[in-house]
């Protein structure tokens, strides 16, 4: 298992480096720069600013600087949020996005598994169809429709929850964003779970258990273990996405998370902020892939043996 772990890490590091290099140079191809605005700066002043932020150095030299500071865990100063470093911005935003994301993913796993299990256990044809239909609805309904509807319903009509704002993480302010983040994930998990369970229930070892007259609970616990791998594979990537923040959910609910920095950074040509978000998201994706691999290997020993060299 340890060897398996190190083999995966050995691939992750160069992957991250390639992503950083691509993002760094691609971003500089975009027209405009961080100091462009409605009021064009006096050329002399703009030159001064580029000098202060070392943007007047050759591009390769800037990249080298960036890698060096990155090696020290320093993302550099933000070019738009000029009173903050990117590290300071992330230090408040990342925990918020992760707190919301974790709750949303837990809700998605619990509700999705329950729905999928219910669908798969249903003897009739209607049960699975209801789950499929509801899931499809959850997948196709865009977040920018769900979020305003929830705000209108719970905030403006029923007056039981705030419409938006973070309010230092008060639980009332978290409910609607968590539901909005979780809904599409619940739908996908339910569908995956239902399909995987149905396949699992048709497997020979389950049939054997049934033939031995084992109780239902016992049979389903075995079936669940066999059904988990495809769901876990999906959850890894989904978690990497949800935990690093969603720009739409955060903008609509006014949440100071990571998601808004992706878009604000890119549109405002805040080079250091964009690079910071790229590094964080890439690292999250690589990390969750690694976790998924480890969980899969634990769930299904064949994964371990197949990936062993020789």
């Amino acid at each position: 298992m340890l060897r398996f772990f190190f083999a995966r890490v050995a691939i992750a590091v160069p992957t991250l480096l390639i992503i950083i290099a691509l993002a760094f140079f691609l971003m500089r191809l975009a027209p405009g720069g961080p100091f462009d605005s409605a009021r064009a700066l006096d050329p002399e002043i703009a030159k001064n600013l580029r000098h202060i932020y070392k943007l007047d150095r050759p591009l390769l030299e800037q990249f080298w600087f960036y890698l060096q500071s990155l090696a020290h865990g320093d993302f550099g100063p933000s070019l738009h949020w000029r009173d903050f470093t990117v590290n300071q911005l992330f230090a408040t935003a990342l925990p918020i996005s992760m707190a919301l994301g974790t709750k949303a993913m837990l809700l998605a796993v619990l509700a999705g598994t329950a729905l999928g299990l219910g669908g798969a256990m249903s003897k009739s044809q209607i049960g699975p169809r209801i789950v499929d239909g509801a899931a499809l609805f959850g997948i196709v309904l865009p977040v920018f429709v769900v979020a305003p509807l929830l705000q209108l319903g719970f905030g403006l009509t029923l007056h039981i929850l705030p419409v938006g704002g973070w309010n230092d993480g008060a639980w009332q302010n978290q409910i609607l964003p968590v539901i909005t983040l979780a809904l599409p994930q619940i739908a996908i998990v339910a569908r995956l779970m239902q399909a995987a369970l149905r396949d699992a229930l048709a497997m020979p070892h389950i049939r054997t258990l049934r033939a031995f007259g084992m109780p239902g609970l016992h049979i389903y616990s075995h079936a669940l273990r066999a059904a988990f791998p495809p769901v876990v594979s999906y959850l890894g990537l989904a978690a990497a996405n949800v935990l690093t923040g969603s720009v739409i959910v955060e903008t609509i609910f006014g949440i100071p998370g990571m998601g808004r920095y992706f878009v604000d950074g890119a549109l405002g040509r805040d080079y250091t902020l964009v690079m910071g978000t790229v590094v964080v998201v890439a690292a999250a994706v690589l990390l969750f892939n690694l976790i998924v691999d480890l969980v899969l290997a634990w769930l299904d020993p064949r994964v371990r043996y197949e990936s062993r060299p020789g």
Binding site: P31, I45, L49, W81, D83, T92, W166, G254, I255, L267
Partner: protein
């Protein structure tokens, strides 16, 4: 036994409940709830350092934190700020300011003329990299210092004694007093900047002299200001707190306003104007503001170097349609280069055909195009409009293209993201027609008309070059008499409108949602609403 236990638990429960109720009543009796203005804004400040600020959002917050020699009241009129009074010498270039003896910093330090000297020198020092330094190039030697040709000590600002500040200008500038209310002209607390460097803006370090102090700031969440007890007029400041929320999503902001979570917001989603007008009529405030919405022609290139082509294209546009139908009545038709509403300038000059019927204008436009060699029997005129990508800019461009179709002109539209558009304008590659907008930094006609000066490399998007116009602008610059200066500027504007290097489509209005609970909030051309005059009804 079980019953006894139940009674005991119940007794404890009620005792605790009783205690909490009691303490809450007690607290309510001791101090009234703080008065807070929850204020929605379109975004966050990029910096709270007045020398790094650029946007209106930053300006709104900096006006609460810092007060310059001159400041604005609730109706956006200039009133004395830290300066109690001032005199000007006959040349109009030397100002003598008498500072308030009771002006203090939030930490209790006395505010001195040296705080202004320090701030102005820092503004002009090249190492500061202040993006808006050039607004105060009116100060003697400022431009040379900012470009590294002179030391900061050469700046025309000095303290005469403990309460007197002398400012010398490069040339007479009747608008100088209005410039002093700009965020570049705020005083700064020297000691805290020297101690903390660029971190002086952090809530735990920042020392301010305005009606409010900074309590906390979380980007994308909220910025909290609290009343500054050391402010000389603190007795008349009703608010205890002012909270700014960064709300980019206009629809979400509207819902939060309706839920009462914010008490004001400075925009509305244009697609929901109808709803707002019918459901929130009392709260919806639309009033003309000092902003222009323009299309520039690239006057360096054929056929846009031909005045007739520019006039024809301008004439054929139905501006009332754009203002009412595309912008839902939140813009006004633009017929002058300088938006109406600048007191020192009076009514601006307008295009000659302002009151001519649209059909007649169309015929006239066709005639002008024919003279220039376009239309039936001549060439087909094809133009391209560049604009930043947004719903309203696109709808406007589509409508304009349709109006030009009646002249036989074929129009292509090219939308890019906002930053690319601004970068394009800055780099000045050849183009046909490009959108831009302009809000004045200080309310003076010169701050619009200088956009047509041939030496204004960065902002003369039309690349307009006209010797008479340049001469008029220089004359106005040197003129010390406000009346004669106004006449010259009117002449310059008339010339600009006759030449039409920039086609004026619309003038902006501010559109605010303001809760009826907010008292002291007044509409004004600068759309500036200092918290000093606001109170919140329960």
């Amino acid at each position: 036994m079980a019953f006894q236990l139940l009674v005991r638990v119940a007794a404890i429960f009620f005792t605790v409940l009783g205690l909490t109720i009691e303490t809450e009543i007690g607290r309510a009796g001791e101090a009234p709830a703080p008065m807070v203005w929850h204020r929605g804004e379109l975004g966050d400040p990029g910096s709270l350092d007045p020398h790094k600020a650029e946007t209106l959002i930053e300006s709104n917050i900096l006006d609460e934190l810092f007060e310059g020699l001159v400041t604005l009241n609730a109706r956006s009129e200039f009133i004395p700020g830290v300066a109690a009074s001032w005199t000007v010498d006959p040349t109009g270039t030397v100002y003598d300011f008498q500072l308030r003896p009771d002006a203090k910093w939030s930490n209790g330090d006395t505010l001195t003329p040296d705080d202004f000297v320090f701030a102005f020198r820092r503004l002009m020092a090249p190492a500061t990299g202040a993006p808006y330094a050039n607004i105060l190039y009116t100060l003697k030697n400022a431009e040379k210092i900012n470009k590294g040709e002179l030391p900061v000590e050469a700046l025309g600002v000095r303290g005469l004694d403990a309460h007197r500040l002398e400012i010398t200008l490069e040339h007479p500038a009747p608008y100088f007093i209005s410039q002093l209310a700009h965020f570049t002209a705020k005083p700064l607390h020297q000691k805290s900047i020297e101690t903390y460097g660029s971190d002086f803006v952090q809530p735990e370090h920042i020392v301010t002299n305005g009606p409010f102090m900074l309590k906390s700031f979380t980007p994308n969440d909220r910025l909290v200001l609290i009343k500054n007890p050391a402010y000389y007029d603190a007795a008349h400041v009703a608010l205890d707190e002012e909270v700014f929320y960064s709300l980019e999503d206009r629809s979400a902001a509207l819902r939060r306003f309706m839920a009462g979570e914010i008490q004001s917001y400075n925009d509305v989603p244009v697609e929901q104007i109808g709803f707002v007008r019918s459901h929130l009529a009392e709260a919806f405030k639309v009033t003309p503001s000092l902003g222009g919405y323009y299309y520039s022609f690239d006057t360096r290139r054929k056929p846009f170097d031909d005045r007739r082509v520019r006039q024809a294209l301008s004439m054929a546009i139905d501006r009332e349609f754009l203002a009412e139908r595309i912008w839902g009545g939140t813009m006004d038709p633009g017929y002058s280069f300088v938006p109406p509403g600048i007191e020192s300038y009076g009514a601006p000059a307008t295009v000659a055909w302002k009151d001519t019927d649209l059909f007649e204008r169309e015929d006239e436009a066709k005639k002008l195009l024919a003279e220039a060699g376009f239309g039936p029997g001549g060439q087909k005129l094809e133009v391209e409009i560049r604009f930043p990508n947004s719903e309203n800019h696109r709808a406007t461009a589509v409508a304009v293209a349709d109006m030009w179709k009646a002249l036989g002109v074929e129009t292509r539209l090219l939308a890019t993201d906002t930053m690319s558009h601004y970068a394009f304008l800055r780099e000045k590659p050849p183009f046909d027609i490009a959108w831009w907008g302009w809000f004045a930094d200080y309310p003076d006609a010169q701050n619009y008309l200088f956009l047509g000066q041939s030496d204004n490399q960065g902002l003369n998007h039309a690349n307009f070059s006209n010797k008479t116009f340049d001469r008029l602008m220089q004359e106005a610059q040197r003129e010390a008499s406000p009346e004669r200066r106004r006449t010259i500027l009117h002449e310059a504007e008339a010339l600009l409108l006759d030449e039409q290097p920039d086609l004026v489509l619309l003038t902006y209005s501010s559109r605010n949602l303001v809760s009826p609970k907010l008292k002291g909030w007044e509409t004004n051309v600068l759309d500036n609403h200092p918290g000093r005059y606001i109170s919140v009804a329960p």
